[in-house]
Amino acid sequence: MRNQVIYAAVGMFTGLVWALPALTSIRAFLTAMALLFMIRLSGKAKSAFFMFMFIGFLTGQFHEERNVTLLKAGEGEWEVTLSAPVRVDGDRLQAVVTTVQAKEKLQLFYRLPSEAQTELERQLTPGTVCRIKGTLERPAKARNRHAFDYRVFLERQHIFWQLEASELSLSSCFSQKKTWKEAVFAWRLKGIDHIKSHFPDNLQPVAAALLFGDRTMTEETVLEAYQRLGIIHLLAISGLHVGLITSLLYYFFLRIGLTKEAARNLLIGILPVYSLLAGGSPPVVRAVLMTLLVLLSFRFQRTFSALDALSISFILVMLYDPYLLYQAGFQLSYLISLSLLLSSSIILLVPSTELGKMAAITAVSQIAGLPVLLYHFFEFSLYSFIANLFFVPFYSLLVLPLLLIIFLLSFVCPAIVMLLEPFAFVFRHIEGFTVEISRWPFAAVTTGRPEEWQLILIACMWACTFVLTEKWKGVKPASTLLFFMLASALVPHLYSIEGEVSFIDVGQGDAVFIQLPFGQGNYLIDTGGLLPFEKEEWQKRKKEFTVGKDILLPYFKSMGVRRLDKLILTHSDYDHIGAAKELFDELEIKELVISPGSEMKPVMRETIKEAAKYHVPVRYGKYLETWQAGAAFFQIVSPADHLYEGNNDSLAVYAVIGGKKWLFAGDMEAEAERELLTRFALDIDILKVGHHGSRSSTTEEFLSEAAPEEAVISAGRNNRYQHPHGEVVDRLLKHQVRIWRTDQHGEVTFTYRGKEGTFSTVFP
């Protein structure tokens, strides 16, 4: 049965994706493969395949049925055990806790009232039991297409509620006898503390990341750079690390005179503990399980191969928690491991020098992970091959062993850390250089999230790439296929035959994205934004939430948008243009169009200053200015004067898009509406309601005259201004206008082909 367990694993996977929520394309692809195996497999392998398909289905069903909550929303007091380390970021404390009674996991949040309380991070060790007053709320759902869905994310970790603590103090907590797991977590924290108190400053983050899988100390800029270069996996503990640590330890045990058998047995004991110390991420668990299986197989005289070990570890992990399937880290880890194992004959094709082998392995891993990267991160890196070729040996042969050895020795002789000083110097420069390179053009190519049909295409080409390279023993067919694979991910987004007008849900604020078909133009009217909020230094989080970085940029990335032909900033208010400056660095913006005179106001002035830094041209939107792009027509219809007086001087854009007449009214109020009516014989199909549906806009008079059929109100959920006002809604309904609201529907999108279009929303 050697090498046949893989079919059991594929069977299990197929069963699982039918039991769990999954993409149709993934189901279709696996089902097609299952059919193929059904025809071709013989004997035992066939029965194993079917049996595990069944087991997979049952496992999925079992977990789906059990992954439910018995708790209810509301205020109350809960007795909970801290099941994982507490994290404090600025003035926010968060932790995963388990209720003592129902044993249900909760995501705990607490806003620390004082700086002194940041000590809680150290004091609340895993295993502590606390009584916490607070409110149970459902976690937030994704409000825009392709956005990160916190609710789903937590549910896949069996967490259904977030507990917003109203008070939390050490006095309401007591520690109990730790379970062995909690004890290991406590060691981990001690280890990280040891790094913080002994290692050179700039090596602390990398040491914590490499030795304990704790990336929280690493700078955002470094993380971003590593992400863009496709080497972020180096900062996560991966199979590579586990392999290295295993061999280092094994070698060490043999050197101190243990027999091979004793050394192996010792490793079998140590590795599970290590996987917890390292944070227990999927790649670590995978690698540890595989290593354990291989070590155990020595006892049974080597009855299975690495491929079998991989397959068995997959089956075990899936039996334990099938929801791991959804994690990008898990997908990458298994997909790349499988690909490397199946590619041994491809790797043999390359001249067997060290560099040749490294290059072959890197190439296989890069290609293997591509579909997952495209789906989860909407981009691929052109430099990642080279970057990996340099950084993988750098990290695995130098950084990790050095840090590990010094770390262990520093317990015996703390002075040894001095040896790290010259290395810290070198490392600082390498890191700086890395950040620099990641800013070069094409470091990351944005493709957008592949649609389902693209995914199937990509999956097929992915498989063919490997099969054909192997069959024809050359890289030419593979590189052609690879090229088409990337093109098929890239082109449909760039030259979509469908156009879109999207009212992005940016909370309280406006952001309207117009994407014309065939790449004829991308326009963004306003960006949304948050009112700035003064914070003391200790309160500041490592990464504060911003509309630009957390909503808009991921949104554009997921849509494959890298260029804005116009960024129209209607007027100088935070909720309309606050996030604009966060876009300049990442998007290519052809021009900024602002309301005449609005640059006198502080928010706009600041925005323009930032734009200058990135050489983004800024100009006034001129009254009656028009432009045409493909079949779409645009005209600026307000304001008529150059004196900026606030909302009523919002740039208002009239447009004909997808055969419909639109008015994007900005924050226009009654006065500007009246003026508009006097200047134009207005006839509108779809109205972007002025000023988020405030009572002072969208007058009776305006509605009778303009007579829109549909209206979109962009307002934040539970916003403090209580927009949209009930009267406005009534007025619209009276005029039989269909209303779309971002506060209720999430993102609202009008998709059109030619002159036909329909509205769709994220929430029904």
Partner: protein, 245 residues
Amino acid sequence: MSLCLLCEEETNRQMTWRQFFTLVELPLLCGKCLQPFERITGECCRLCSRPLAVLDASFSIDGVCHDCVRWEKESLYKGVLSGNVSLYMYNEAMKAFIARFKYRGDYLLAKAFAEEVRQAARKIPHDMVVPVPLSEERLRERGFNQAEALAREAGMKPVNVLERSHAEKQSKKSREERLRGAQVFRLKENSSVHRKTILLIDDIYTTGATVRYIAYVLKQAGAAGVTSLTLARGQGREREAVLEE
């Protein structure tokens, strides 16, 4: 547990992409051991599948190699052999392989390329498979007929219609002697190849003498056509090497 037939290591035997998707059996040799074997590809002599690429252009005429041209000039042998298909070059690896297989009697090696032999045989129209026979003496010495073993392991049903009288080793004769040499192959009594299209199996093709002698005998006995299939193809340079039984 199955090991590589050559190096008897199992770690080197990895599943490949094609096997994973198409579920063909794992090759019986590991990737490392398989690597030095050279499959015959590219343009070959239309008659004997000798690769023309390594041959000087002056040694082939119209896609037929010099040797075959000479054979076809012999009135006795003209047209007796419809063609020959060989799978691998007779390089160092193959030399060692065949030595181990037939001289040192590692019968299992007959399975190593069985799949390739089977596929090649499927492409050649035939209604009877005939292995090149050994003399009784040689058969006793080796214990099995390597040509028959190749055919059998490839799932064919070889029919022993021929016998061979023991004679001096082929390799010790000159070309002239071989061409004119006494016919050592005979049709067995009570066997008939009348109107049969025959696929002749052997381990190696060097000068083509053996298969042509046999083809001649078979044709005389009324066979409709004779094509030969051999595992290896000598480059012609190692004349001194093996055209033994």
